[in-house]
């Protein structure tokens, strides 16, 4: 009886405040609110994702909106009210859409394809590219490379070397490296941040000014 009353009390034509939205999206959900939110998510997702989707944009966006809606409903209790509810829901939908697109983009690449070969696994095996600069300049660059390589090899963990190698030297896209290292985006960012910090601190400790180093390259 109470649920019946609650459900019928909640039926509205518009939802202006966060309180109204949250109330309507909590069980038992107000289907009109769900339909309206779906409509708004679809409206926003189309222009946001169109440049990434080459065909069947409408169907893709509808699927993403539906998946995002389920996440919004599942997590409605975690909404803190620090923005409009629609902004928070759209954030979830946009991530849902771009995550799906990234997965599709690299779906055809198998884990085997992503495994680095023996040479590229080890950063210290890298050599300086031959350049058309003067011999003196090349010699100087080689010394700088040796210095950075020594820091990398002495300071970084194997996982950090692998990540730096994949992202900065092989220039593999982030999602590919995440898959290759069987990790997640957040963990990869933190791993690389720690590596960058170690290199920075070691350069400082050795009295090397990165700006001067960059000028000399």
């Amino acid at each position: 009886m109470f649920n019946w009353f609650k459900k019928h009390r909640k039926e509205k034509s518009s939802y202006e405040t966060n309180e109204e939205w949250v109330e309507a999206l909590k069980p038992p959900v107000d289907e009109r609110a769900v339909a309206l939110l779906r409509q708004k998510l679809i409206r926003g997702l189309k222009p946001a994702l169109h440049k990434y989707v080459d065909r069947e944009l409408d169907q893709f966006v509808e699927d993403v909106a539906q998946d995002a809606l389920l996440k919004v409903l599942d997590n409605i209790d975690s909404f803190r009210g620090d923005s409009k509810l629609l902004t928070w829901a759209m954030k979830i939908a946009v991530r849902e859409g771009l995550t799906e697109l990234r997965l599709k983009r690299y779906d055809d690449i198998s884990i085997e394809d992503l495994k680095p070969d023996d040479d590229s696994r080890e950063v210290f095996s890298l050599s300086m590219a031959s350049s058309e600069t003067s011999p003196d300049r090349s010699l100087h660059e080689s010394k700088l490379v040796d210095k950075v390589m020594t820091i990398i090899n002495e300071e970084l963990t194997d996982k950090q070397k692998q990540a730096i190698n994949a992202l900065m030297i092989q220039r593999l896209p982030g999602p590919v490296v995440v898959k290759q290292m069987d990790t997640n985006r957040n963990a990869l960012y933190k791993l690389v941040h720690d590596a960058r910090l170690k290199i920075k601190n070691k350069l400082e400790l050795e009295g090397i000014d990165p700006d001067e180093m960059l000028d000399q390259l």
Partner: protein, 80 residues
């Protein structure tokens, strides 16, 4: 595999830009909706949330999501 001067520059710049405290993608996502609303309201989210701004400058995946979010929100706002 060869290390070119360009890659070396990128590596050094990346290390040079490393701050002692940087947030990860999860923490950025946690506050991205607030950051976006501030930007759309013409406030200065980079001053209120400098760690989010720093992360967006350094993480292309989060930046891509943020730009798409702004695009979506601008569309919704224009309907109102």
């Amino acid at each position: 595999m060869e290390l070119t001067p360009d890659i070396l520059k990128k590596l050094i710049k990346s290390a040079q830009m490393a701050a002692d405290h940087e947030i990860g993608c999860n923490e950025c996502f946690d506050e991205l909706h607030e950051f976006a609303e501030m930007e759309l309201a013409g406030k200065s989210p980079e001053e209120a949330k400098p760690l989010i701004k720093d992360h967006l400058d350094k993480c292309s995946s989060c930046r891509e999501e943020y730009q798409a979010l702004l695009e979506a929100l601008r569309t919704i706002e224009s309907d109102n």
